[in-house]
Assembly symmetry: D2
Homo-oligomer: 352 residues x 4
């Protein structure tokens, strides 16, 4: 299989850096273009970017020149790490110009014809791209907290149905990008609010667990996602953690489940990435921890190179039925790795 040429747009930011770190040495995509804003365009990457990851900048990118998004890009695939809010029109334009855009931004996530995709969860939603009517197309991955939560919910939804879910998150500072959270706000502290985050968790979850309807209403209209009928309640907080979002989840299931059934649902959960052996796929998407004090974000975010999600502390909840704790990488599984896995899925399905 030929290696696809890829551009990373928004390459100098924290998510852009994570894209580069993950695409370095990737067997299917080769980064041929780096794109940034006007302030950086024309400079060499290493000169324009303030590299903030703990792993070093791969040497191959250091000297690459930064282009603007409206220039011609020698690439078929575009990974977009453009900040939400700015991403919308830029990504639409790229799709119109024929690029296949895999975006981490929120701007198009809830568009009816744009797949909001986690390959293990709703690979069939990929078909939505056919309705976009552009030469290229646009695929999004969910918010970082939503991904961790939905990876844990999906096996339960499949096995028992989920009716209601109360989720309380504790999110890492890397979720806010760079410079992101000022140290004075979070050192030795908890911040109980992250703008827009709770809405994203509540709405994206329903689209991800929703059903692709060939033609809703029975007519000849386009395919669409019918959101899952789950009542969601999310609270999102920030904690002084570098990497790894954690969520305390309470769920009401559609039918009785025993503890062993739930654990089995999680541990046996596999999706298209596992069946298709996608390069970035974790072997086991959901890891169950038996120690009472696990998972922990710092110690467990790196499982399966950051692509697996961890669950633990499953126990009965006297109000909704069951409660548990889950955690996972927000910058790998929850952002750049999510986009790359989406692209790998498209490639494996012949959509790329």
């Amino acid at each position: 299989m030929a290696v696809k040429k890829a551009a990373v747009v928004g390459a100098t930011g924290a998510v852009g850096q994570r894209f580069l770190s993950l695409l370095h040495g990737h067997p299917q995509f080769r980064v041929t273009e780096l794109v940034a804003s006007e302030r950086s365009a024309g400079k060499a990457y290493a000169e324009a970017a303030n590299w903030v990851l703990n792993e070093p900048l791969p040497k191959e990118f250091a000297g690459m020149p930064l282009k603007l998004a409206n220039e011609d890009l020698d690439a078929e695939v575009v990974f977009s790490a453009i900040p939400s809010g700015t991403a919308g029109p830029v990504e639409s334009d790229l799709a119109k110009r024929g690029y296949k855009v895999f975006s981490n931004a929120k701007d198009h996530r809830m568009d009816p014809d744009v797949p909001l995709l986690i390959p293990e969860v709703n690979a069939d939603h990929a078909a939505l791209v056919r309705q976009q009517g552009t030469d290229g197309f646009l695929v999004t991955n969910p918010n970082c907290t939503t991904i961790v939560l939905v990876m844990a919910l999906k096996p339960l939804h499949d096995a028992f149905g989920i009716r209601r879910c109360i989720a309380v998150s504790q999110q890492a500072v890397s979720g806010a990008g760079y410079p992101g959270v000022p140290t004075l706000d979070i050192l030795g502290n908890v911040v109980p609010f992250i703008g827009g985050e709770e809405e994203k968790v509540e709405t994206e979850t329903l689209k991800l667990l929703g059903t692709l309807r060939a033609s809703p209403g029975g007519g000849r209209g386009p395919a669409a996602i019918e959101p899952a009928a789950i009542t969601m309640s999310a609270t999102c907080t920030r904690v002084p953690v570098e990497e790894g979002h954690s969520i305390t989840a309470h769920v009401e299931l559609g039918r009785d489940a025993r503890e062993a059934d739930i654990l089995h649902a999680w541990e046996s959960f596999r999706g298209d990435p596992q069946r298709l052996k996608l390069p970035s796929a974790p072997q086991q998407p959901v890891h169950v921890h038996r120690a009472a004090n696990r998972p922990q974000p710092r110690r467990d975010w790196g499982l399966e190179r950051g692509m697996a999600v961890s669950v633990g502390r499953l126990r009965p909840d006297p109000i909704l039925g069951w409660k548990f704790f889950c955690s996972g990488s927000n910058t790998v599984r929850g952002a750049a790795g999510a986009s790359i896995l989406n692209a790998e899925l498209f490639l494996a399905k012949g959509l790329l």
Copy 2:
């Protein structure tokens, strides 16, 4: 009013240190005895204690000799900071020997004849001490997380009734005492389990919001607490915060409430400490924060010298009805300050 002589038992530990810091200069209690374990007995306090508070050790205590709990103590009141598990028999013995014991330990909290007391919440439960049949008596304050939560729940329970409550805590490391939590466990991390904590929050809350029955069952038996009929579900986690426990709470109320009614219930809430102008009482027990990103443990735990509790982020919850975030000092309002306020209540009511 004469100043009462007081002993601090368990004086060298972290809670004992907080007792000393708060009793220094207290208008009603004068520390005349410091008590510790065999390892320290006989030494001067400053020599035996590894002072860990940020404020300095008050000079008056530095040279005081440490006694054992079974020695004669020149004191009427005993503040107990003995670790839970060890406290039980020591405190019982002290009460039998005629001391009035105000304990922060969990060991006797759920005893039927021992008041589990927050003066703003259930001052009438103090009457239980009459049934203890000893020359002295034993009074306890709740777990640090429970206190913060119940201070926020009580005004709602009075005004609307609470039927169900889901609480998720983020607790400071000082709640585990000293040496407590190893840095390697919590730096840049969240630990999703604290042994025994969830049970304490779930059971103590019901006793605190329960009703003193003169003689349950209508007979001539002793008074007892009828626990509140609330379904509780607690999850307790540890975060890298020095001081201040925070809780995300979801509540189902017994009847409809508007946002303004709930805010009013919190802001107008006053109890015996305020009416009796107890020295350690906050003027306003519950502070409502309007900024979306407040309260925060580090910035808000010190309100009213650490004796007030903060609430914020009140908003509808699609599942239980309402949700909010609350926070407060775990070592002052949640531990030593709680015991001292209990003693002040007893003094003001003539029970001391």
Copy 3:
């Protein structure tokens, strides 16, 4: 003594907030004007400022309108918390217009006719203001690290002379203002460089410990500061500490000193603020800690309301002679409190 009207310029930033917190209830200065940049001018203070201190915003300032620095200010004294770089021309203009400006910015610190002042250290340098030739005048306080270091060096310089000094700092994030240091840069990390900081420590120390010469060169020229003849070598690093700068200092003294002599020099050190009983003066400017593991920034920065400096770990250095560790508040003693103490000195000396 009449209370002086004071303006705080740069009032919305972190140092401005500290000024307000310290001036609230001050017996000699009453804040009558709050000044900010164009972005905030016209708004009420509470609306424009993102209050980041742990103590609450004093209510008196919440509704005060923000002015611009070029408007007429109903104030005699101006406390300047304008960021370094911007401060220079604004402060010069204020002095020309007759205001008495006490600045925390670096811009004018090394000007020959501007006192760089620590009242305990070089109160006589205040006389320099007479040469400024403006209706008002300009007084500066040193960099936050320099203040802590020089408070510890001054008693040794007076008693024994200092010839050489190697200083390695560990500085709190609050020293960088707000938003200041991104959490991703400093959580669980050390950053070995702070732009311009080492130069400030090396040059400001010499001016502070320098000598006021009535007329250098013997002629009729103006008074000037002859810098101290000390060789300075500074390394400045950032650590994940909220408040309190710490410095490991190695000093070569001009003559032999015994340990007891050095300790005595520190403990007996007093200056004009103590003799004049200035409201913000610490009773003892330098506290000596005997415990081997003290001072510590978090536990000791608050000594004497943040206005004292702590030293400890004095021991022989086989290379320069002596070494020790010192620590102190960077936002109180090292910034806003320093400026206020300067103004109190001027008031007590009749220069205001």
Copy 4:
């Protein structure tokens, strides 16, 4: 080459865990025995050890039974992670019984017939083991701070000679093992003292940079190490960093050096591990960072799998001549990895 059987003694502690993590999959050593104290002996490893590393416990060790050090061990090599203070007699006994002991403990480091070894620095000192007169032998690696410092000093000592060195460290909490540093002591804080650490840095450095004399004094006596003639002054502090010790070093060189010469000395530095291509050897032992704000412990400790040391901020020091900042992993390069590299050196030299 046959794979050697190895025992890890002190296997349950933090350093023992790091040994297991690094020996998992090692091409030359296979862990056949795990040894712990009486409290754990007889249990399976996973049951007795509280695994605290961020990477998971390798499955091969989970079920291995723990033995006591005085039992027969089916191993030729022993890696000792016994805590300093306890290690001494246990290690001596193991050497007497014929085991080849590679120890991380301080107890025997300064013994005249025990090599204190960093393979890049003083591989020739390995010859000392011939004088131990036991069937087995004992080899030690230095203190974690010393290793980082000496790796940076050695190239300068070889090229220019070092006469004097002032070192100020900022050390990670993992250096204190587990449970180690209580969170309440270090969160948002700096602790300016680590018991015994400064003496280790000052004395071990001289032995490491010292010269192996066939027979000191010219007689027929045994070989011995003549310590380097360097005047050392160390200050050691603790900071809230998980991994990576950092040191600000000031050095006086024996002859003039230009900046480029020093940088070249570091970058061209190679030792036996590189020439012999030892499995754990870094390709480049000392990495020079050009960015002014590097190296940083969190971002740079992992270079070359934690086996390289980083230097940066080289600049003239007006007092000693030159100063710089260096940093490196304290648990890999500074502890378990150091012992393993020592064993690899012995194997490559035919001493094992």
